[in-house]
Amino acid sequence: MRGIYYFAVMTLYSLFRRRTVWGVAILTALALAGIASIPAYGLSGGGRFTVDTGLTSIEIGSLVLAIALASGIFPRDRETRIAFPILAAPLSRTQYLLGRYMGTALVQTGFIAVWGAGLVAIIALKGYPMPSDMAGALLLLGVEGCFLLAVVFFFSFWTSPPLNAPLTILLFILSQMSVRDFTGLMPGAEGLMRILRLLLPHMDSFHIKDPVAHGFDVSPVYILLAALYGLAYTAFMLSLARSVLLSRDLR
């Protein structure tokens, strides 16, 4: 456990030295600043627009950040041959994976928390009513971010970084689709498409921005259930990633 902790801290420091991470963070902050600068034009629903677009910006920022953070870690470790001495003695492959994952997940959730605080500050400064389930919406965005990170890690062990990004984005898009829309992509093979949809995650479970923006209460039981669902899927993706890493010949 101590090995994972130290390696996660090392990963954290190394990620903060990368320009890509700061680039994504600044772009998302700029998007939030853009949302803050849009006037309400005296309309009563201005707060809804700010909450809705703000949470959407955070979600897209989280997807891009996950790809920027994790897609290049293992390929770079392998290319620079850092992975070989680490895996040869001090760390097992499982500790390597979990250490790298924990470090990137800390950065990912940290940025989502900062963006969320920025959105809350914008709502407060503009004098809009604060949605009661804002914390729940941000929590589920954090869980979704951790899940996306696990997906990127899984792809990074058997694809190159340029292929990792489109695969993750494709999974992100397909996982938002309803069963009806998904089977509609190939109406001739409905059974096969149903099986595929059953295997894909239901990422719409993490979305409560619509009720939050429109002032509907979301049950705390649902928020807990959706968070558990996301964590279980994250654990499954990490298990898959670990299985791929253990079976790889790194020589």
Binding site: S178, R194, H202, S219, Y222, Y229, A235, R242
Partner: protein
């Protein structure tokens, strides 16, 4: 390696047979009970269709448009209420998937560790 993939193929086949039962997945539009669909079901048309008929409780304006009470379920707000947070009847399926995923994670972790130790 082969054994693990065999287990996964078996699991996929099991998932396939369950999925053939059609209602295994949680598409709210497919599995929603009539009371969840509310007014949308009574109308029996989608939001894109023309509105040239009487809507009963919905108020008609001079231009022929009709207005529903704010926050109510109707054909225009179906997309809003057909989301998991508003459909408690799919929460059980979410819990089922959570448990299945947790069990699969543990199985995969144990099987890949065993395979690795056997290879050494």
């Amino acid at each position: 390696m082969t054994k693990t993939w065999f287990v996964f193929i078996l699991a996929a086949a099991a998932a396939a047979s369950v999925s053939c039962a059609r209602k295994a997945d949680f598409d709210i539009a497919e599995i929603a009970p009539a009371e969840h669909l509310g007014e949308a079901d009574i109308h029996g048309h989608s939001g894109e269709e023309a509105h040239g008929h009487d809507h009963g409780a919905a108020g008609e304006t001079e231009t022929g448009m009709h207005i529903h009470p704010a926050g109510s379920r109707n054909h225009g707000t179906q997309w809003f209420f057909n989301q998991p947070w508003a459909a408690p009847f799919v929460w059980g399926k979410m819990l089922r998937d959570t448990l299945v995923l947790a069990a699969l994670s543990v199985t995969l972790a144990v099987s890949s560790s065993r395979r690795r130790s056997r290879r050494r």
